[in-house]
Symmetry: C2
Subunit: 193 residues, 2 copies
């Protein structure tokens, strides 16, 4: 409960250092970085890590939460600069990018996703809301079909973002996104039930 009382100066510094250290480790592909390592990187002892985060997983969650928040800030700008369908396409690609950044985190997150922790549920909700906004704009403009919601699309994208294998995964992701986008486009020759 951060509302209780502002953190002491050193505590805040350490907390930030821990988050930064963890992010660095994950981005470097060290998804399984040991708590001791993360603590060392941050220049503190393990105990300090546990003062700020209930558990190792909680730390991962917090890093993830920040990452998601950053991503979810994008749609506003996109909708101002592009037509709705293009904005949607761009955001889908951003999701891919986001996955690239979190490549190392994917493994770290596996347990969280599996556990269906509230953090992940939240994140999904946020991202789905972003997509809903973009989809609504597109279907309003008549360029995107109206029978798909953000939740569904997010799940589809979730897969695309799960590519871990090396060698051209980015091209693959882009191609798949294009494929999905083809399915999303509004066309007269397809009749929905």
């Amino acid at each position: 409960m951060p509302s209780s009382r502002p953190l002491r100066a050193d505590a805040q510094r350490n907390r930030d250092a821990l988050l930064a250290a963890a992010r660095d480790a994950f981005l470097a592909g060290e998804a399984d970085a040991h708590v001791e390592d993360i603590a060392r990187r941050a220049g503190v002892a393990v105990g300090t890590l546990y003062r700020h985060f209930e558990t190792r997983e909680a730390l991962v969650e917090e890093v993830y939460r920040q990452e998601v928040a950053e991503l979810c800030a994008a749609p506003s700008a996109l909708l101002e600069q592009h037509a709705p369908d293009e904005a949607l396409r761009q955001f889908l690609l951003l999701l891919v990018e986001h996955a690239a950044i979190g490549k190392g985190m994917a493994a770290a997150l596996a347990s969280i996703m599996a556990t269906d922790s509230p953090v992940f549920v939240d994140a999904r909700a946020q991202m789905a809301a972003c997509l809903d906004r973009l989809l609504a704009a597109g279907s309003g403009a008549g360029t995107i079909r109206a029978d798909v919601d953000g939740k569904t699309l997010l799940r589809a994208m979730g897969g695309v973002c799960n590519l871990r294998a090396a060698e051209g995964w980015r091209e693959d992701a882009t191609r798949i996104t294009a494929l999905l986008f083809d399915g999303l486009r509004c066309r007269a020759d397809i009749t929905r039930d």
Copy 2:
């Protein structure tokens, strides 16, 4: 190296029991079942488990390998009974089913997928081959576009199969599969680069 010498009768029995116990545990959603539990279920001691499987992960891998083998037997029958595009659609849905069965295994597999272990690489190759076959049949018949390969499609499906959340995940999966399928269909109004 199973080619060396046939297993002793009791050894074979125990090995089978272990695989069955592990499969049961995973299917029951006990993705994190402890080795001791699995061993107990199989009516043996942990040491026996380790006599048959290098490591816990190796056991998971073996269960998965069997699962994949079973799935990859499907295309032949499908192609005999349906038109190529319908066969493809059916197989995509089978993939979803496969994921449903392995719901519990997904978590167990997370590390394997992340580690890019040869088992998973193999499995991907097998499944991609299945899809290639179906895609080829479809594009031969002129009903499926020819610019998507099995590897790409598998990755797209991989995401669909990663749905863990409760509540209507199956409907979601089906809808997404339909979406992808729309993207895959051969139509005059789309020109590829």
